[in-house]
């Protein structure tokens, strides 16, 4: 078994999400125009939690969508076809501020694919990015607007999110060394 360290436990994940929710509220004064879109798979339950927190701060429901970038990946020819979930964005994103939510920001390729996929649902006024962890090693000029925790990593390490919503027994983010 690989050597692994817990870098965020349950309470610290929830504290990070609460802070991100307040930062989103601070950055976006026009609260009716903000929508959250979680990226499969880890980003979806995180976006749901952020949605609940933001709805509490603003006192009104925040629209929620989920997006799978599988069909928009730039490496489809080099890998086996990825498992995919349906993309469900039940509202028009045109003119909205879309906050993309993901668990781990790494190469940035998933975010590029997500922005590409989002195009087919309208023309957002702006897109912002919220991630629970940023582990560095970007391969594209992409930067997160809201970060739960910056985690310096080696390329060979893996950052894994576990959440009870995904069938895990605890909430935690783990750094696995090979």
């Amino acid at each position: 078994m690989a050597d692994s360290t817990v870098i965020l436990n349950g309470p610290s994940i929830q504290r990070a999400l609460t802070r991100i929710a307040h930062e989103i509220a601070e950055r976006n004064e026009e609260k009716g125009d903000v929508v959250l879109v979680g990226i499969h798979s880890g980003g979806v339950p995180l976006a749901r939690r952020l949605c609940a927190l933001l709805s509490g701060i603003w006192g009104q429901p925040v629209p929620f969508g989920q997006l799978d970038v599988g069909m928009h990946r730039d490496d489809l020819a080099n890998r086996a076809a990825p498992a995919m979930e349906p993309t469900v964005i039940p509202f028009d994103v045109s003119g909205k501020t879309v906050v993309l939510v993901d668990d781990v920001l790494f190469s940035g390729r998933t975010i590029r694919a997500a922005m590409d996929a989002l195009n087919d649902f309208g023309r957002p006024h702006r897109i912002q990015l919220a991630v629970l962890t940023d582990r560095g090693h970007r391969e594209l000029p992409i930067k997160a607007d809201f970060v739960g925790k910056n985690v310096p990593t080696a390329l060979t390490e893996r950052v894994l999110l576990r959440l009870t919503e995904m069938g895990d027994s605890v909430d935690e983010v783990v750094l696995e060394k090979p």
Partner: protein, 325 residues
């Protein structure tokens, strides 16, 4: 999630896991069909040849639209216009298509096994769109998708296939898929079209329609394929309608939530009464819609290269492992 195949030639060689992988992937593609812009870039720059050596309208149109929605370039090659009429062998046709850099060949052929042969002589991915009376794998997959979507599962359901089984590639593919996913399959029709030999596939064979549909959760009707029958297999169409046609009287003796399926084209008034074809229990048009999603899923899956399937977080492209010292 399991898929490492370059071709889709039949259902017989697929594992239950592989069938479920297609169905799961198709769920994502069905959502694409429901939005304003129904196109994704997954096969951008790839070339698909639809090689329909046997005439087909609906399957070809379904494949063509699926390919276009995946952003592939599409060439249609039909029996009438092609050089096959001029004496070219299938192997030479395939070689010529390969010289055009075709990445996929979707083939319908009147000879059983033709796609398997094609897969051996070409580098392109081959998808069987129906070969003789052998198999029609994408039809079976879309049937499984439709059943799973409506009933939540396939396992344990009673599925009756009613009609011309002997000449039906749809029936063979459906039987394989249903058995692999754990359904109880009953075949019914005139004894000349539903021989007992099918019992070797692990299904029940009956020639009594009331007995066949009484406990069915799904009634899958098949058209009488006059074009494939070399001799008269039953005395008259009228007799077939009387003995096997699905009508309102027969439908009242089935489970109230039994669904009616048909791969099309339907012959109204023969295997199915016209009013039944349009009733709320008929999912015939849903099958057509689901066919697009399933065919997109199949093209997407066979396009996959050899590599890891699992994606954890936002991983970089796996082909360049540059490790820092």
């Amino acid at each position: 999630m399991t898929w490492n195949r370059k071709h889709l030639l039949d259902i017989e060689s697929l594992s239950p896991d592989e069938i479920n992988t297609v169905l799961d992937t198709a769920r994502a593609f069905k959502a694409v069909g429901a939005r304003a812009i129904k196109k994704v870039p997954a096969l951008r720059g790839k070339t698909v040849v639809n090689l329909f050596v046997e005439p087909s309208t609906r399957t070809r149109i379904s494949f063509e639209l699926s390919e276009q929605r995946l952003s592939a370039d599409v060439i249609n090659f039909s029996a009438d216009a092609s050089s096959l009429k001029k004496g070219e062998t299938l192997k030479d046709t395939a070689r010529n298509l390969e010289a055009l850099n075709a990445d996929f060949i979707v083939m319908r052929h009147s000879a059983s096994g033709a796609p398997h042969f094609l897969a051996r002589v070409t580098n392109a991915s081959v998808i069987n769109a129906g070969d003789g009376a052998h198999e029609h794998p994408t039809q079976a997959l879309l049937d499984m998708f439709t059943i799973r979507e409506r009933k939540g599962r396939v396992e344990g359901l009673n599925v009756t296939i009613l009609g011309d089984i002997l000449y039906s590639r749809v029936a063979r593919s459906d039987i394989w898929a249903l058995k692999k996913l754990g359904a109880n399959v009953t075949l019914c029709g005139p004894s000349t079209l539903v021989p007992r030999a099918f019992e070797q596939m692990g299904v029940r064979v009956t020639h009594n329609v009331e007995d066949a549909i009484r406990d069915a959760d799904i009634i899958n009707l098949l058209r009488i394929q006059h074009e494939r029958q070399r001799k008269t297999m039953f005395p008259s169409i009228n007799e077939y309608i009387t003995l096997f046609g699905l009508n309102r009287a027969r439908l009242t003796k089935t489970k109230p939530d039994a669904l009616i399926m048909h791969p099309g084209p339907i012959n109204r008034g023969v295997e199915i009464d016209s009013e039944i074809a349009d009733c709320g229990r008929s999912v015939i048009l849903e099958q057509v819609t689901n066919g697009l999603a399933v065919r997109m899923a199949v093209l997407f899956l066979v396009n996959g290269g050899k590599g890891p399937q699992e994606i954890v977080g936002d991983q970089p492209a796996p082909e360049k492992p540059k490790v820092k010292a």
